[in-house]
């Protein structure tokens, strides 16, 4: 019963006190998503050995933490007669802390369950697609009943094991690249060598039929490949996945090839082929040019002199390699940097780094003792929420704003976990303050 401007509550306790309730802290964004939709569900994903992660509708991930208090928290609700009843007493709430789960590593692990390995073309698929008997999202029976195996990668299995939203999961699958087999619903990773081979076939077909690189129709491409002598057994899903990997979508099933995406993919393969070898710039560019399809001209590759150490953080290998100097490393952190002829490229893929700022910076400082802000930012921007490929279609202003926001976040981590020192030339560089 309420008086004007006031309220009087008479408390009782429910018959079932204390009842089984929990309190979950919501972010304003999650609450807005739920209220806007009117109905929906939040899903906490992961394996039993993972830290529980909740993913919201915008693919933001949060770790669940229990926060304890010595205070007593009583939940009250009205009973059928309108009386206020104590329902339970709590000393803890569940809090949400932003996190970046290791998505790619988990997806690659699940895709790797296929005993045939990555897809190398229909002609190499000797075994029939086998059923996973009674897959429960985790394990299935072997077809001969002799035991159980881990389920292969279906949408259900990926949703249960990967701590990400659907949009982000699809982006990771597209980036690998992987395709979903229409007949079985299973995802298959495409072998890197076959991926490039298929791309070359696509580009050769494009030249032969005088199609525009900016408007490749996936169905037409697949039909052409199938009709050619060398394209027998081409899977439409694989063609679509390869086109999507190296292109922008310009319409339903229509793609515009992006040369830099191809160059970055090949660069990753060049680095991966020789482990942690440091590459003189000239050798790296020669290896890259030797593998690049001739139809794709990248200005950046044509001028080796542009590849001084100062250019590397903004080059097509940003986030994949860092520069060091063959001679006189004091020049590394000067405004002009080290010339291309004296620059070495050290492979360091962002995808292999920890997904938490402190641990990532620790790993980066283990790789190199001193970094300038411009050198290190490419290795932090994914944690700061910046995805250059996703912003390819955005206008320059939007891209610049997103990059600036990510740089600000990265700089805050540098201040927290790094120690700023001035190089002899006056450039600000960072060393680790982590033990």
């Amino acid at each position: 019963m309420s008086d004007a401007g006031g309220e009087r509550l008479v408390l009782s306790a429910s018959v079932g006190f204390p009842e089984d309730y929990r309190l979950l802290e919501l972010t304003p964004e999650i609450l807005a998503q739920l209220e806007d939709a009117g109905a929906g569900a939040l899903v906490v994903r992961g394996r039993e050995t993972d830290t529980a992660v909740l993913v919201d509708r915008d693919d933001r991930a949060y770790q669940l933490h229990t926060a304890h208090t010595s205070n007593s928290m009583y939940l009250m609700a009205r009973d059928a007669e309108g009386r206020m009843e104590l329902r339970t007493k709590l000393h803890q709430t569940l809090e949400l802390q932003p996190t970046h789960p290791q998505i790619r590593a988990r997806v690659v692990e699940i895709l790797g369950r296929d005993p045939r390995g990555a897809f190398r073309g229909a002609e190499f698929e000797e075994e029939e697609e086998e059923e996973d008997h009674g897959c429960d999202g985790d394990v299935a029976m072997r077809p001969d009943g002799s035991g159980s195996v881990a389920c292969r990668a279906t949408d259900q299995v990926l949703a249960r094991h990967v701590q990400s939203g659907d949009r982000q999961l699809r982006r990771v699958l597209a980036e690998i690249p992987a395709f979903r087999h229409a007949a079985t619903g299973r995802w298959r990773a495409i072998d890197p060598g076959y991926c490039l081979e298929l791309l070359r076939l696509i580009l050769a077909t494009q030249v032969e039929r005088d199609w525009s690189l900016d408007a490749l129709d996936a169905q037409q491409v697949c039909a052409a490949l199938r009709s050619d002598a060398g394209g027998g057994g081409v899977l439409p899903e694989a063609v679509d996945a390869v086109l999507a990997r190296f292109s922008r979508s310009v319409g339903p099933g229509v793609y515009a090839i992006v040369g830099t995406r191809v160059a970055r993919y090949i660069a990753g393969q060049v680095f991966a082929a020789e482990g942690s070898r440091a590459w003189p710039v000239a050798d790296f560019l020669a290896a890259l040019r030797a593998t690049m399809p001739p139809q794709l001209q990248i200005d950046e590759l044509a001028d080796p002199d542009r590849w001084g150490s100062a250019h590397v953080p903004q080059s097509l290998v940003r986030g994949m390699a860092y520069a060091s100097a063959l001679v006189d490393s004091r020049l590394l952190h000067t405004a002009a940097g080290v010339p291309a002829a004296a620059t070495l490229l050290h492979p360091l893929a962002t995808s292999t780094l920890p997904n938490e700022p402190r641990a990532r910076l620790q790993r980066l400082f283990e790789a190199k003792a001193r970094w300038s802000a411009s050198e290190i930012r490419p290795f932090l921007e994914d944690l700061a929420g910046f995805d250059a490929e996703q912003l390819e279609d955005s206008d320059a202003q939007a891209r610049a704003a997103a990059a600036a926001a990510a740089a600000k976040t990265a700089d805050s981590w540098l201040l927290k976990f790094g120690r700023a020192v001035r190089s002899p030339d006056g450039e600000m560089v960072y060393a680790s303050r982590l033990s």
Binding site: R8, L23, L24, V44, Y74, R78, D138
Partner: protein, 111 residues
């Protein structure tokens, strides 16, 4: 392994209140607080609140929560008798609380 679903429905929300106290509500009754009737009164005026329990009166305040709290209640398990490993645990959001009544002062004795 299982996933946990937390289900929200605007139509299914109820009115819940949160009371936070530095002490706790105790009773000599064998059954504890369970089923106790009219054990306390709270008068709220604006952002002030006063709770009276027997001869004890404690002053408090109504504060806005920094982040809203969802009140979760677990649905009964729907797993089969065979121990289905694919069982999803589900919670319903029964309310979203945006403020609490906080009592952190020592109670006075009122005769």
């Amino acid at each position: 392994m299982s996933q946990i679903r937390i289900v929200y429905s605007k139509d299914g929300l109820r009115e819940f209140r949160l009371l936070e106290a530095q002490g706790s509500l105790e009773t000599d009754s064998d059954g504890g607080l369970c089923g106790q009737q009219e054990l306390a009164e709270i008068e709220r005026q604006g952002d002030k609140a006063v709770m009276q329990i027997g001869v004890h009166r404690v002053h408090g305040s109504v504060v806005k929560l920094k982040k809203p709290l969802a009140v979760l209640r677990r649905r009964p398990d729907s797993s089969s008798a065979g121990g289905d490993r694919d069982c999803d645990v589900q919670y319903d959001i029964e309310a979203v609380i945006t403020e609490k009544m906080l009592f952190k002062a020592r109670p006075d004795v009122v005769l």
